[in-house]
């Protein structure tokens, strides 16, 4: 049994198998539609927010490196929190590798379209992606790079956080205001990889004892290790400068970033 908590604790994500298509040649041709996959950093990234410890945080860039983004049609009851295997009857590779800036666009911008591919009609109720270190681009050598400004009581910290924790996420149904992944022939459907950055910094609008805040690092520990008004660190430096508890908390919250809307994902740390 996979023990998953929001993607907040390390666990073994379900193993997946490639569907056997050896007998497909005699089968009737499957009708297709367009399947889109988007990446969403939510309002926290696009509009900024107040951390659990009162820091006003705004982002200039939030680079996330994504790879092997696959959409699956699988058993309707697939639950990444319970199921240890993913046995799809249809899989579609959407993105092989791409670095995306989740802070791109205006505050009211739509989630960022990663790719749009032709895909067999059906219900895509599972989404998988990995977050390896980027080979090139603005975040080369890193999985995540957060660039922005934090301000509290007149103190300003210009931060660049280069995070190297490589993860794999396997997620189930999108949970949100609308249902996603239901692709009819000749039409378009979308899926979304959602990143909850309030898990790292907490949410000043939520109660202090809310689970979103009790597990979050906040920004205060990061501000404490800034050099004047600048914080430019990678994971090695963070491990050296943060307390062991804070560093562990940071690792846990980074791991818990990946969601599908409000839906949870199984996760595993990549070797």
């Amino acid at each position: 049994m996979v023990s998953v908590s929001y993607g907040c604790a390390s666990s073994n994500a379900p193993s997946s198998t490639t569907p056997d298509t050896s007998a497909v040649s005699d089968a009737p041709e499957t009708e297709e539609g367009l399947l889109q996959v988007r990446a969403n950093g939510e309002d926290f990234v696009r509009e900024g927010f107040v951390s659990k410890d009162g820091w006003e945080i705004g982002f200039d860039h939030v680079y996330v490196n994504l790879a092997n983004v696959k959409a699956y049609q699988t058993d309707a009851s697939f639950d990444p929190e319970v199921d240890t295997t993913l046995e799809p009857n249809q899989d579609v590779m959407v993105v092989e590798q791409q670095t995306v800036d989740l802070a791109e666009g205006e505050a009211d911008a739509d989630p960022i379209l990663l790719a749009e591919v032709s895909a067999p009609a059906g219900r895509y109720n599972a989404l998988e992606w990995t977050m390896p270190k980027a080979a090139d681009g603005p975040a080369a050598g890193h999985v995540l790079m957060l660039v922005g400004t934090a301000e509290k009581d007149g103190q300003v910290v210009n931060f660049t956080l280069r995070l190297d924790q490589e993860m794999r996420y396997v997620c189930g149904n999108f949970v949100g205001d609308e249902r996603k992944g239901i692709l009819e022939a000749g039409s378009t459907a979308d899926l979304e990889a959602t990143f909850h950055f309030d898990h790292i910094f907490g949410d000043g609008e939520a109660a202090s004892d809310d689970s979103i805040n009790t597990g979050a690092l906040g920004f205060e520990p990061l501000a404490a290790i800034a050099q004047g008004d600048t914080l430019d660190v990678d994971m090695t430096m963070l491990e050296e400068q943060l307390s062991p508890d804070d560093y562990t908390r940071l690792q846990d919250t980074i791991a818990g970033l990946g969601h599908v809307g409000e839906g949870h994902c199984a996760l595993e740390e990549m070797a």
Binding site: S3, V4, S5, Y6, C8, A9, A76, S77, D79, E81, R123, G172, N173, V175, G176, E178, R179, I182, H196, D198, H199, A206, D210, S211, I212, T214, G215, A216, R249, D252, T253, G256, G261, E262, G263, H264
Partner: protein, 193 residues
Amino acid sequence: MHVKPLRTLLVPIATLSGLAIALPSLAHSTALDYTVAPAVAVSALYDTGKPMVEAQVSVFSPDDVTTPWITGTTDSQGNFIFMPDPAVTGNWEVQVRQAGHGEVIVIPMATPPSVTENLPPSGSAETATENPEAASAPVDLSPSVMPMSPQPRSSQLSPVQRWTMIGAIIWGFVGTAFFFASRTSVSDPAGEA
């Protein structure tokens, strides 16, 4: 207990026993009826055991997975009960959301479940394994079918009702016996064959 034969007995009782009482008609009246059918109770909890109180619930039928069949909110214990259309079999889906946390659970409905006993919703709650390392609390949605299938109403009669009916039946037999006995004596007053 068979209801129909009982009713056929009670009618003669009312007419033959002479106990029928005419009631005045009511100026205002109401009609209450009920249907007993399978229901599903979903218990929505965080892994801390804390219920998801007043969480948004959307239920999707197998016929339409995009438009909610019914919406509502969980109660103070994190429970939500609904009665799926028994004619619509397949995977019913329940989505529960609250404060950025959410989950979908799939409930396969084949045929109406057999009768066992009525389970209170609170008895179906299951708490997920706690993860002390979790930064946030995952959601545990525990569905349980509340097994209720059509039952004769006589099975739900109170003891007072049952004894009243038994007494009426006995009195009916006695009354009927007297009635036929009196007819026999009239048709053969001398007892001559």
